[in-house]
């Protein structure tokens, strides 16, 4: 035990202090998961203008980091954003077009669905009417 303790770099008190400092950064920032989610979504929106990113793999966290200018640690927002592809302007417009197409397709599908259901209804009422007779 004694020899082992000599090789230990940090005492448990120091570990507690470091953990606490980090913990209080996030606590004090009062960043609720909802706010973090909003920040994340906004970051995605901005970066997607220029790059194709992996939205699922995107991670943002509030941590502490050693400041470069001053001595000591400062709170930091760290984002890990995996890039799938750097977009070109052409690619951007093409994607817009394809999105519009998709939207059109959806709309037309919905319309036809409406027709189908209306037809069904009318059929039902007819059959009911027949029974009555």
């Amino acid at each position: 035990m004694g020899i082992l303790e000599l090789f230990k770099k940090k005492s448990s008190g120091d570990v507690a202090k470091d953990r606490l400092k980090l913990l209080l950064v996030t606590d004090r920032a009062n960043c609720s998961p909802e706010i973090m989610e909003q920040i994340k979504n906004d970051i995605i929106k901005v970066i997607q203008k220029y790059m194709d990113i992996d939205c699922e793999g995107l991670e943002i966290n509030l941590t502490q980091t050693e400041s470069e200018g001053k001595n000591g640690v400062v709170p930091a927002l760290i984002a890990n954003i995996p890039i799938k592809e750097v977009k070109h302007n052409d690619a951007k417009t093409e994607e817009k077009k394809s999105e519009e197409k998709k939207a059109d397709d959806k709309a037309s599908k919905e319309k036809s669905d409406d027709k189908n259901s209306k037809e069904k209804e009318s059929k039902d009422s007819k059959s009911k009417g027949n029974k009555g007779k």
């Binding site: 005492s11 448990s12 008190g13 120091d14 507690a16 606490l20 913990l23 606590d27 004090r28």
Partner: protein, 261 residues
């Protein structure tokens, strides 16, 4: 002239009630007229720590609801005639009193007492809001333990948000043997992390358990924690008292003995 002080911590079991009892008794010993209010409705304990549990007739809820006059509910301490306790109800919940009602009560007590000290329940809900409503200043009690310090930080934030301009820190239950070998946060560590003024540090002392067993606060006695509590009382009254050296807990013989172990 009179001051309303709330003793709070966020986390339970760090020594709010013990601190309230000792500081209240200490201020009374120093000649001040003191009212202690237990605000932990449903879990009253200040009465037993003070040794007054057999003398309760009316309680905080009775006073607030107008079932009795305030003076009728205040229990006068036999040993210290200028020390009074307003116990809380053992039945009912925290919602039976509102922050406005608490403020009205503390303002009423200001007229006849020098210090009104409120023992706050653990947590940050209704009970906490009630307890801080009428307070001028707060004593935040914590322990050199990660969870207690975290909760204290939260409480300090909430006190600031509620315009309690003055909050002082009490670091309770320090074990100097553990601090010295690096296995416990030191008082300095806790003060550095929480960044508020320290008003006192209390060692983890067997004598506290013994005094609670007897229902007789140890403030002002020979024990190191008794001295530490008395120093806090003096600091509350504005006196400048140097911090005790908690390492001097044991006599020389005691230290030699513990080293042999």
């Amino acid at each position: 002239m009179s001051e309303v002080i709330v003793v709070t911590s966020g986390k339970g079991g760090v020594g709010k009630t013990t601190t309230t009892a000792n500081i209240g008794t200490g201020l009374a010993m120093l000649g001040k007229k003191v009212a202690l209010i237990d605000t932990d409705i449903g879990l009253r304990n200040l009465d037993v720590v003070m040794g007054l549990e057999n003398r309760i007739v009316y309680n905080l809820v009775d006073v607030v609801k107008g079932n009795c006059r305030t003076e009728q509910a205040l229990i006068k301490h036999k040993k210290y005639p200028n020390l009074f306790l307003l116990p809380c109800a053992q039945a009912g919940d925290k919602d039976s009193v509102s922050p406005e009602e608490m403020k009205k009560l503390t303002d009423e007590l200001r007229e006849s007492f020098d210090y009104i000290i409120l023992d706050c329940p653990a947590g940050i809900e209704q009970g906490f809001k009630n307890a801080i409503a009428g307070a001028d200043r707060a004593l935040v009690v914590t322990m050199p333990e990660i969870s207690a310090v975290r909760d204290a930080d939260r409480i300090i934030g909430l006190l600031e948000a509620n315009d309690k301009k003055r909050a002082d820190l009490i670091v309770n239950r320090i074990r100097m043997d553990m601090v010295n070998r690096g296995d416990m946060l030191s008082v300095d560590d806790v003060v550095e992390i929480l960044a508020i003024d320290l008003i006192g540090a209390i060692p983890d002392d067997e004598d506290i358990v013994i005094s609670t067993n007897k229902g007789d606060p140890l403030v002002g006695g020979e024990s190191i924690s008794g001295q530490a509590y008395m120093n806090i009382c003096k600091r509350i009254m504005g006196e400048e008292v140097p911090l005790l050296d908690l390492n001097k807990k044991k006599s020389i013989f005691g230290r030699i003995f513990s080293k042999k172990k």
